[in-house]
């Protein structure tokens, strides 16, 4: 009897416990948008973010002086206008009355303050500092930024505030398209209060203050919650969704199951799931089409096989590799067609892209080049890693090369080791991907192929004095049409030497619930969620 009573009360307790915990859970948030992400969010510190998953979150919070719209056009951001006389000194008018998100880091009773030119100088200086990850975007251009980056100067000489709302950048040399370097939201504006003693440790972890359409509420390793910034300066772009929730679900299958269950509203489709969403011809399966909207966005995410020019000095062998790579097959097999074939560094869609060779695949030519080379059939090692289909690319490449008579040996290492070996120069071939951050070809070519950039990011060790000279001259060409044409010619000259075998530019397939509409994403892969609407 006693036993039964104990069991009964246990059952009741458990039931109550269940009901209690259910009621505690908030199922009723109406106007929120839940995004499933595949890895833990990094620290939201603008100068150290490097994870492609974290950028889209940070870019809801922080904004730059200028930005790209969804068509890839440059539009004003925190700077309402800018101008330059000689392409060397650039003056920006900072928008008046833009407030930072309210936060305890500001000690006034209002808990916020407006941004001024001082904040811009502070932020740009931080981006030039040695600990900054994206310093390479501006270090070569802005006067004194390189010295500050290398620890040789105390301040950045080229940054000035003319008055409270006027900011001036002086460059090393005139650069007509300098502005293209800072369209990326990587270079964003944040308050100097981030360095206050008791804020420093929490900055990016539980505190992140910018001027963007959404502000940070909480951040754990599993969840980041942002809410609408009521005081957002651009009244035309006031967010329509109250709350954004980024939920970490590492397993792709489970994340997709959660999308199907309606517990998350958006995810970027990983390649592993293409077969569950697309038919073999790349069309969306009917039953999936009913429930979801699809955004296919061209990104600057470029995949390539880098060639170490010291280890493979034979030009004909490199050309054989170039002509023997069937890029079309890779895009079909790996991405179900969701990618653009490229034969050079400048991705299509980039402001100033001029395609030289549409599809260079030519096995006959490849065989002829191989005959001219001194290649004796020794296996060439290709480094592959765990990210971005590197191994699959390697396997297809291996097969294609064996078809024309080149033996490839795959060596799998982790991504960071691959980078280490690549920079050290002891890999013959390496499969790599790069998220291009510039919006014009000139800084991109300079970064990848100028001999001053050996060993990084000129990983191939490409050194050609005539190209160096031409690229330097490219900075000075003020007319856009001429600049684009010259850039294309330089690229062609570089690609004739085949320092790298560029393969394709991946398209991102974003799947989101059809309860929402108007999802816009710009070529920097910035989600303009402030324009998203709930139906």
């Amino acid at each position: 009897m006693k036993k039964i009573r104990v069991t009964k009360s246990l059952i009741i307790c458990f039931g109550l416990f269940f009901v209690f915990s259910c009621s505690k859970k908030d199922f009723s948030v109406v106007n929120q948008f839940v995004i499933g992400v595949s890895s833990e969010t990094e620290r939201l510190n603008p100068i150290t973010i490097k994870d492609p998953q974290t950028y889209p979150i940070a870019w809801q919070i922080y904004e730059g002086l200028i930005r790209l719209n969804e068509d890839g056009k440059i539009v004003p951001g925190l700077a309402e206008s800018w101008d330059t006389g000689d392409n060397k000194v650039w003056t920006f008018k900072i928008r008046k009355g833009v407030q930072f998100h309210n936060s305890d880091i500001f000690d006034s009773s209002k808990k916020t303050r407006t941004i001024t030119a001082e904040d811009v100088i502070y932020s740009y200086t931080r981006f030039c500092s040695p600990e900054s990850y994206p310093s390479f975007v501006i270090a070569d251009s802005i006067k004194g930024c390189g010295d500050y980056n290398a620890g040789k100067a105390k301040t950045v000489e080229g940054l000035k505030a003319l008055d409270e709302y006027t900011f001036q950048i002086e460059l090393n040399k005139p650069e007509p398209f300098f502005i293209n370097r800072i369209t990326s939201p990587w270079i964003s504006i944040f308050p100097k209060e981030s360095e206050i003693e008791n804020v420093k440790d929490k900055w990016g972890l539980i505190i992140a203050v910018g001027t963007g359409p959404y502000k940070l509420v909480s951040k754990t390793d599993n969840e980041v919650i942002l809410v609408k910034n009521e005081n957002y300066w651009d009244k035309n772009r006031t967010p329509k969704i109250e709350r954004l929730v980024y939920r970490v679900i590492k397993n792709d299958q489970i994340r997709f199951a959660e999308l199907n269950n309606g517990k998350i509203d958006l995810m970027v489709l990983p390649n592993q799931l293409f077969s569950s969403v697309f038919e073999q011809d790349g069309k969306v399966k009917d039953k999936i089409k009913e429930k979801f909207n699809f955004n296919v966005i061209g990104t600057f995410n470029t995949h390539l096989i880098g060639i170490n020019m010291k280890k493979l000095p034979d030009l004909h062998l490199r050309r054989a590799i170039f002509y023997g790579s069937n890029r079309e097959e890779m895009v079909q097999k790996i991405l179900y067609g969701y990618g653009d074939i490229i034969a050079g560094a400048v991705p299509p869609g980039m402001n100033g892209y001029a395609p030289l060779v549409v599809n260079p695949y030519n096995p006959e030519l490849a065989k002829q080049e191989l005959k001219k080379s001194t290649y004796k059939g020794k296996a060439i090692e290709l480094l592959v890693h765990e990210l971005s289909n590197s191994e699959q690319i390697g396997q297809i490449f291996q097969k294609q090369m064996s078809d024309i008579g080149i033996k490839i040996k795959l060596a799998k290492v982790d991504f960071n080791s691959a980078i280490g070996r690549m920079i050290k120069g002891d890999a013959e071939l390496f499969s790599m991907f790069a998220e291009v951050v510039f919006s014009s070809p000139e800084p991109l070519l300079l970064n990848l192929f100028s001999s001053t950039k050996i060993p990084a990011p000129n990983f191939w060790g490409y050194s050609n004095l005539s190209v160096d000279k031409k690229m330097d001259g490219l900075r000075n060409i003020a007319e856009k049409a001429v600049s684009v044409k010259t850039a294309a010619e330089i690229e062609k000259e570089i690609m004739e030497d085949v320092p790298a075998n560029f393969l394709y530019r991946q398209k991102n397939v974003v799947v989101y619930s059809n309860k929402f509409r108007n999802l816009k994403i710009n070529p920097h892969n910035q989600y303009m969620l402030e324009q998203l609407e709930k139906l």
Binding site: K24, K25, A150, V248, N251, D414, M422, P455, F459
Partner: protein
């Protein structure tokens, strides 16, 4: 004697960890700054991290800091390692405790159901042992996410919903050890049931339940506890697959993340934490044996 043994073991772990992460040919400064950074910038950061100091100097600093529990900051995002590891450890510890709870539950059930059900138990155990966690984990996870109402975890144990979220992963984590332990327990009970003192107890007219609870279990407990002491540390390190499947930010996920990013200070702290756990669990069980078994107690006294 034991204290000297464990202290030297710990020192060995610290030394080994240090050497291991300093012979790996990877440059943490380069990893922090990415492939695009200039060599001069990388050099500055290398200096700031103290990586340009001679190895013995680095070890001296490392040892001093480790003893004072100051593991420094993560190379990757500058978080304080001590706080980071501690917060992850809390989650993992809770997960392991829940798993241990399942192990005990299952073991008690084995004892209570009696010998005639053992053929079925054998089959269940076989299933649990032979199914790898990465498989059972995903299968159960998909069902859980379909039918279980608690599918979001805040990242720490804040509410009852968080605890309920951890139940299925803890159960999967427990599958293998509980089957192993149940097998040991079952064999022991079968052996003991054949011994003369059980026959004697039966002859005295004790009921089967009384015999089971008073005599069988107590004698089967020592081998059971010994096996448990082997399985427990493995639960901590083995949790990483489960942690990744269920997106639980515990020590396991931290370990994997730090390995991939070559976050050496974090890795050193995690390895040392694992060493401490191992030593702690062993010490705990060494104190536990005499409590359970009077024979060990008297042997110690002699």
């Amino acid at each position: 004697m034991r204290l000297i043994y464990y202290t030297s073991l710990l020192l060995g772990i610290i030394l080994f960890t240090f050497i291991l992460f300093h012979v790996i040919p990877a440059d943490p400064a380069r990893i922090m700054l990415g492939p695009n950074a200039d060599e001069s910038q990388v050099k500055i950061v290398r200096k700031e991290l103290g990586l340009d100091n001679p190895l013995h100097l680095q070890f001296r600093n490392f040892l001093y800091k480790t003893i004072t529990f100051d593991f420094g900051r993560s190379y990757i995002d500058g978080r304080t390692i001590y706080e980071e590891v501690l917060s992850k450890f809390k989650v993992s510890l809770f997960l392991v405790l829940l798993a241990t709870f399942f192990i005990f539950l299952y073991s008690i059930a084995i004892v209570l159901i009696g010998v005639r059900f053992y053929p079925i138990v054998d089959k269940i155990n076989f299933l649990f042992i032979s199914t790898p966690t990465f498989f059972s984990g995903v299968i159960i996870a998909i069902f859980v996410f379909l039918f279980y109402p608690f599918t979001s975890f805040s990242g720490a144990i804040h509410s009852i919903a968080d605890i309920l979220y951890l139940l299925p992963p803890a159960f999967i984590l427990a599958l293998y050890p509980m089957a192993i332990l149940a097998r040991i327990l079952k064999q022991e009970i079968e052996k003991i049931n054949k011994s003369t003192f059980i026959t004697a107890a039966r002859a005295f007219g004790f009921s089967e339940t009384q015999i089971r609870l008073r005599h069988s279990i107590r004698n089967a407990l020592v081998p059971f506890i010994a096996a448990l002491s082997n399985q427990l540390p493995m639960l901590f390190t083995g949790a990483f697959i489960i942690e990744i499947i269920f997106s639980i930010p515990g020590v396991g996920s931290l370990l994997i993340k730090s390995i991939l990013h070559k976050d050496f200070p974090m890795l050193e702290a995690v390895v040392i934490l694992n060493g401490l756990q191992f030593i702690g669990i062993n010490l705990m069980f060494e104190f536990l044996y005499p409590v359970i078994d009077p024979r060990i107690r008297s042997a110690d006294a002699h």
